[in-house]
Symmetry: C2
Subunit: 343 residues, 2 copies
DNA sequence: ATGATTGATGTAATCGATTACATACAAATT
DNA sequence: AATTTGTATGTAATCGATTACATCAATCAT
């Protein structure tokens, strides 16, 4: 006979024990005798009791919720990361809130407000472009110990973070193109000042140098991870006298925009020019041509970020503050968009 | 001099009033004199006071949070809807939780558990595949007055919902193909028993009949909205003796899978076969060929669902229970994947 | 002038769970 | 047998905001 608004007192009465005992049965069962524990459990079942989170949160001064900050929810790249975060936190009985930094910076809301409103115990930030002002606010409110960065991170800070091995990913990409016989390799970067842009470009340049490949300034094309920037990059390539034979794009979306525009202008992919992406989102497998790319383990990144954050929340920051970023491996996924040089 | 853990009592002391007055200043300012109101406001500012949501939620028996249930977070279709929901609820000071029904039906969790556990005030459900048993549970917990369906809905129920005009969308698609000179039109449906599948197929069939176009059973191909089902559909089409000259797909993702496989098997899109999708997700514009499709106003759907839910929460269900679904218009987006018949 | 009405503010109970401390009883130690 | 130790459970204070009710003063009607 399940009814609503069952309070812990009702369960206690039904089980013939005190509210303290019921509370213990649920959160520290090892403190009770087998017998009382079972009595309480059966009372919980028969009454259909659920703890009232507001009451518990008030008493324990916790929120049992975390916030995931996404630079742009419309970008399908993030969905799997969120799914991973969700998975981990559901097990712990935490709620996961999601906010789009794009929407919020427009609304003039500061990130630290979430902490001050005591809505969340911690935060996973997928956006590394946090202003110094915001970070300072965090410090002032001792919130820095409850924030974890994932995928992106803040340059020159030692805030805990989880990230793919971007440098290695870029190297894998360049090496793969080299092994296919390409020497004139271009790179469409991400947005300026972005840490991922920097890491991937660095890996690309290092590997190109290591392999002794030719370099031209015009082959490093500034983009911003978007489809549109892939289009723009393609238009630049089309106008080049000395065209690259392969392009390494800083994201899959850039690769899509690039390939579409190249194709529309009579340059075939991969016959005339090879393309390789970075991320491996769902669609990459089905694009025409299917995209050769560097896979990031997105769900894994989300799960790891979640456990790192739980650790920060449970133990405070001491151990974590100075720790190295958690690195997640990347993998080359060979499909159809990059092929061996002709002749 | 902002410090943390400021309670309403501290503000009251600073302002020389009672806690009741502070509370009123914040939630019913019109009850106070201009003078006291200002005194309280300046005390709030100088102390940096923030209401403790747990305490407020406990006292008012609200959660000030809603849940969005998504069938599959990895599907980029949903991101914009969530963004719309977020936008609306942020203004009202509500938190938005997101859960993936796929992750949870595996865990044997019932939908009504989200209400009982997560303690949310309402729910926006993007998944229409709710069993009768589940709905009954909702009724028993008088939760039916706080649930709104968006995009999908439950067949034969009059639960409040917001949806695109799917029938009209399908008609637009068929009409467009007809105007391009196509008469042999196939349709890759969504999953069986899905309300969207039904509506889009109905619209397609009705318009085909209205235009007096030929019908063949094999031209209605069962799919499930996924890329993979697009592949499978393409393989069936390739084997047909009498091939359709155009295919209307129940989702953009189906269209991607279909086009990729057709192309890989030497059938060019749109030269040999025209394809039209449904949804208009971000990538559709950049696919090769860019996808002609029916646009759903996803952000608008999210925002409308949010206001409908707020209405339900504020006013109870009376007015809403019997109301007709809120319809959101769709739009034909002409791109490159569908073209005029040759000859 | 007296009682009724209105408006502004204060007092204190309340929401429901957790947990420090108190108590009771049993087992172990002397 | 008396004391100590340990284990299981109960009592009641507490978290912080809201709000029904009480109070008081000012205004109004008679």
């Amino acid at each position: 006979m399940v009814q609503k608004n069952v309070r812990i007192r009702d369960v206690a009465k039904a089980a013939g024990v005190s509210t303290a005992t019921v509370s213990r049965a649920l959160s520290n069962p090892e403190l009770l005798t087998e017998a009382t524990r079972e009595t309480v459990f059966s009372a919980v079942r028969s009454t259909g009791y659920r703890v009232n989170k507001a009451a518990r949160n008030l008493r324990t001064r916790q929120a049992r919720a975390v916030l995931v900050l996404v630079p742009n929810l419309g970008n399908p790249f993030f969905s799997q990361i969120i799914a991973g975060v969700n998975e981990s936190f559901d097990d712990r009985g935490y709620s996961v809130l999601i906010a789009d930094t794009k929407d919020h910076s427009a609304a003039g809301k500061l990130l630290v407000d979430y902490f001050l409103d005591a809505q969340v115990d911690g935060m996973i930030c997928l956006d590394g472009s946090i202003s110094n002002k915001e970070l300072l606010e965090f410090d002032e409110n001792s919130a820095t110990s409850r924030i974890v960065f994932a995928c992106e991170w803040v340059r020159d800070s030692n805030l805990p973070s989880v990230r793919s091995d971007n440098i290695e990913g870029a190297r894998l990409a360049v090496r793969h193109l080299f092994e296919l016989g390409h020497t004139k390799i271009a790179h469409v970067t991400g947005p300026q000042d972005n840490v991922l842009t920097h890491a991937r470009r660095q890996g690309m340049l290092e590997e190109r140098t290591r392999l002794g490949l030719p370099a031209q300034d015009q082959w490093i094309i500034r983009g911003d991870f978007s489809l549109e920037s892939g289009r723009v990059a393609a238009e630049k390539i089309i106008l080049m006298d000395e065209k690259p034979t392969a392009v390494f794009c800083a994201s899959d979306q850039v690769a899509f925009g690039l390939m579409s525009t190249l194709t529309a202008n009579g340059l075939r992919v991969p016959e005339d020019i090879s393309v390789i992406g970075f991320d491996d989102i769902e669609l990459s497998e089905y694009y025409v041509p299917a995209l050769t790319t560097i896979r990031q383990d997105r769900r894994g990144l989300g799960k790891k970020a979640a456990s790192l954050l739980m650790e920060c929340i449970d133990n405070g920051l001491e151990s974590r503050r100075l720790s190295a970023p958690v690195m997640v491996g990347v993998e080359l996924i060979v499909r159809q968009s990059a092929t061996a040089m002709r002749g």
